[in-house]
Symmetry: C2
Subunit: 460 residues, 2 copies
């Protein structure tokens, strides 16, 4: 592949601009909410549609690989030659739930374009990665009849629900997944201030149920003599943090590794406090007395309750003492916290609120390790040069507070070097009105073409 063939592929993208957008709407209209069983058929239909696209454009072995939950989309194109690297390309085609629905300005699966943006759940996270890579490969194949590197595609359907089946999937498909480098496309493309998340946190999720009386009771008759499960749920939630925000689970910080001054400086450099406050719409951060916000958001572990419920939530009043209450929580883990150990600490702590009068049960969901990408070397250089050639800037390396369970698994199970390049905008991810900036997406497609070209220059 030469500069000329790169330009041919870019030309193809520009010529098919409208068709790329129209077809992307089709992908976005699958409500592939992987975490909610009600959408299981939609998740599968979405995966099948992607397989069809890959087969049509000339990929081999395009198929669904079954797992215990949602299938993985696999395909490969291995005709670049043994002297070219093999790139394992990772994205996920599942999306977050959409609630609160009433805060969306258009239906989350209508994929409506307004003012240069495409609004849909998943428009950025992470169907932009799926679609961006497909269109880049299509452009190179249509324009030049070949790809500059060997490609293996792995698009999973469980990322937003913690990839429960993927550990087993990787362990049983090590040969199929063998590659020289893994490219994580579950990442944002920001042409103004490009960045790359070079490390992220692990995660443990849990659901807690507090049960008391056998039925909902009249609170006027039984209040004060029958312990109220809502009160116990409140006591547990209220006990997780001290007034400064320090987490009270015994031993929770024991394995947390101290971060050196150079890493602290890198973290601080990559963290824009004012921008984060603006995004959150808050005037003050919480817990500043523990450590700078930049570090709390990245190399400190967290515990957040993500939802709670119990009793009467309708309009007006109901004098009920409910039979049960519950909440969901996630904990973000940093090196060297072991997710299995942390989940046991959590379970023991929470279930310790059980008594003669209430029963507290804690069910652990996902248990995922932190992850680490390459921070130097030819694979990172290939990404940086593609960006520089396209937008005149290199990505700043930033440490994220988020989790990419699959990367933690690849780190621990295969030890592949990992780098990252994404196509989506950082707008409304996991929130209402998720929106892809269309012009930026097409810029990202150009950079993607250059990136695979650069990979192709790296002889093995």
């Amino acid at each position: 592949m030469t500069e000329k063939t790169v330009q041919h592929a870019i030309d193809y993208i520009q010529e098919t601009h409208n068709q790329i957008l129209e077809d992307y709407k089709t992908l976005l209209r699958f409500p592939s909410i992987g975490g909610d069983p009600a959408y299981n058929e939609d998740v599968r239909a979405c995966a099948l549609w992607i397989v069809e696209q890959l087969a049509e454009m000339g990929f081999d072995n395009a198929r669904l690989v079954e797992t215990a939950k949602h299938p993985v989309v696999y395909a490969d194109w291995l005709h670049a030659g043994d002297d070219k690297p093999t790139v394992l390309v990772y994205d996920h085609y599942d999306v977050q739930p959409v609630d609160p629905l009433h805060l969306w300005d258009s239906e989350p699966f209508d994929a409506e374009i307004r003012d240069g943006k495409l609004y849909a759940r998943g428009a950025n996270d992470n169907k932009a990665g799926v679609w961006g890579n497909l269109k880049v490969f299509e452009a190179m194949l249509k324009a030049n009849g070949e790809l500059p590197v060997n490609i293996k595609i792995m698009f999973e359907g469980e990322e937003e629900s913690g990839s429960p089946s993927i550990l087993d999937f990787i362990e049983t498909h090590q040969e199929m997944l063998a590659a020289d480098v893994m490219l994580n496309s579950d990442a944002n493309f920001n042409p103004d201030t490009p960045d790359m998340s070079y490390a992220g946190r692990g995660i443990v999720s849990a659901e807690v149920k507090v049960t008391g009386p056998k039925v909902d009771l009249h609170s006027g008759m039984f209040g004060g003599i029958v312990e109220n499960p809502l009160h116990v749920a409140g006591k547990i939630i209220g006990s997780f943090h001290d007034a400064q925000g320090r987490i009270q689970l015994p031993g929770y910080y024991d394995r947390v590794v101290a971060v050196d001054a150079a890493e602290k400086a890198r973290i601080a450099h990559g963290f824009n406090r004012d921008e984060m406050m603006e995004k959150a719409g808050v005037k003050s951060f919480w817990g500043d007395s523990i450590a700078p916000a930049s570090e709390r958001a990245t190399v400190y572990p967290t515990l957040d309750v993500n939802g709670m419920w119990g009793g009467y939530q309708g309009a007006g009043s109901k004098t009920v003492l409910p039979a049960e209450a519950g909440f969901k929580a996630t904990l973000r883990l940093v090196p060297d916290q072991d997710p299995t150990e942390v989940s046991q600490i959590l379970k023991q702590y929470v279930e310790g609120f059980s008594s003669d009068t209430v029963k507290v049960e804690c069910t652990i969901g996902q248990e995922q390790w932190y992850f680490q990408l390459v921070t130097e070397g030819p694979y990172l250089d290939a990404v940086q040069e593609a960006l520089e050639e396209t937008i005149g800037k290199r990505a700043e390396l930033v440490r994220t507070g988020g989790s990419i369970p699959i990367l933690g698994l690849f780190n621990r199970l295969i030890g592949l070097p990992i780098t990252a390049f994404g196509y989506g905008s950082d707008e409304g991810i996991h929130s209402p009105n998720e929106a892809l900036k269309i012009d930026d997406f097409f810029t990202a497609l150009e950079a993607g073409i250059r990136l695979y070209h650069n990979f192709g220059e790296l002889d093995q």
Copy 2:
């Protein structure tokens, strides 16, 4: 009215047994959930249907009296003569919400009969009172052409939502409501162990909203640096009681009147600890170190959270840090707690959790006083003798933990002597599968006929 006319009325009830039940189903099928604005039209339709029934059976002035919220059903029959007492009969035609709906074995407004019970929301509380009184009056009017006493009917539609308009209604209709005695029929009929609630608690209700970030955030990005409204809601709920169950609102117990030994004994006598444990399905009560359960359930004030919510409540997991959280609470008040004073204590305490990072708002709903019925004298004797003549037992006087706001209002505004007689069973009130025991209901109708006969014997 003589023993013979009493028997004629009882005969009429027995002859129309099936029709009484069929017509009762019609009343039960109105989903008159007064606390939920979605049912406003059903509440009104229910009230209108009752007015029609009263007009048809020969009551005068049968009509809806408008209030700021739900109308009061009024009607009178004042032809017994000046020497006969005038009885103001009180019931409510509104019902509690039905959730959790999935725990009902039949639809709550289908009014299905199974194994001698009529299952419906409101079948006991308190449409049994509405229907029981109507059928007693109808029986006496049909069998004898007259009633033994003067009757004024006041059926309200806001009891389950704290009677917000009724203070104003009573103040502006004092003449219309003038009577010698008020009969509260919002009471249970239990032929095995008859009882009468001679005093009950006041109530304050409130809804609390905790708001933080301007939108729902990704908890992986913002957890630990943006304060989570769910955590603050938990801290507030968890702080309401100490480990023994004592309420922590400052000054909350200051006005609570000590109860003397005689009253404690009466309370203990009317409280069946084992039965209450069986009903609740618990092996232990909570807070026994403060006072006996009998007293905590009656002459100690309470604070119960009735519902809480926030964030993601669906299946699976969602890594969200929500913009808001909330809960509803009710407080039961005892002599001499002032509901307005208590609501201010609550509001000040809860809103004290506001900070630089979250805003806490507490909206007060109802503010109602405790109530007191006559505990001796001819009106109580009339009830007791009607029971004795029908089921061979007198009612045990018990102190309830519940609230009947209207009675507190009548105590404070009109000073009417109040006594009580009800028609419903004590099964599933405010819970799924509320059920009227049909045989007991017909026994109650007989007792009701005797009660009004006894009232008629009391010359003024």
